[in-house]
């Protein structure tokens, strides 16, 4: 699946997108796998309360099942308008 990062999450990780092979059952499981990659991932995912997640471009939550999801995005709370 594609894992996308926006705003300071993208800056902390250092790139906007990863292509990930995973069997993670939930968003939280995927986060654990990403955290284990490198320090910069652990730093980006240190505080999940500061993050929001979208699964296949729909706002979701960290306990959501990933199922057949093709795209997961992590970002801070949105500031439009």
């Amino acid at each position: 699946m594609d894992v996308l990062y926006f705003a300071w999450v993208r800056e902390r990780i250092g790139h906007p997108k990863d292509r990930v092979e995973t069997r993670a059952a939930t968003v939280r499981d995927l986060v654990e796998e990403l955290r284990a990659r490198e320090d910069r991932y652990a730093a980006a995912f240190a505080d999940l309360s500061a993050l929001r997640v979208a699964v296949d471009q729909e706002l979701s939550d960290f306990d959501a099942p990933l199922g057949e999801a093709r795209e997961v995005a992590f970002f801070p709370p949105m500031t439009g308008g």
Binding site: F6, T79, G80, G81
Partner: protein, 146 residues
């Protein structure tokens, strides 16, 4: 419904006139415009990032929800991304209805929802450095009134 996410500037007067002109049987048009503020007098640029694909879908869903809740004949959401300067227009919404109450309320609803449910992020670049604009609790709380 007219949803546009674009880098280019827009002409508020031309957009408002075109929106009003294409309404039939609508007695009221309400518009709102957001403008880049320079509160401390040191803003160099405001950079707006968004999530292409999800942004358009999220805005369309918000507009559809407004149309379910109020009797509006039409709505426009136009939001820019990229590098903006102080006093640049960031975004606008317009709503049309037979009577003004629906257009006013739908426009406020659109604004409240797109502030914290549409995937945009603002970064301020100033003489002192740069930083992402933090989401405000008041903006999240504002959703509670709908």
């Amino acid at each position: 419904m007219d949803i546009r996410v674009q880098q280019e500037p827009f002409d508020l007067g031309a957009e408002a006139n075109a929106f009003a002109a294409r309404q039939a049987g609508m007695g009221a048009v309400v518009t709102f415009t957001g403008i880049v503020r320079d509160l401390e007098g040191d803003l160099d640029t405001m950079e707006i990032e968004h999530y292409p694909g999800m942004t358009e879908k999220a805005l369309a869903e918000i507009a559809d929800e407004a149309a379910r809740r109020w009797r509006i004949g039409d709505a426009l959401i136009l939001h820019r991304y990229g590098r903006l300067k102080a006093d640049d227009l960031i975004m606008m919404v317009a709503t049309a209805s037979r009577h003004r109450a629906d257009a006013f309320q739908a426009a406020e609803f659109l604004m409240d929802y797109l502030k914290s449910r549409a995937p945009f992020w603002k970064k301020e670049v100033t003489d002192a450095g740069e930083g992402w604009v933090a989401a405000r609790d008041e903006d999240e709380d504002a959703l509670g009134r709908w």
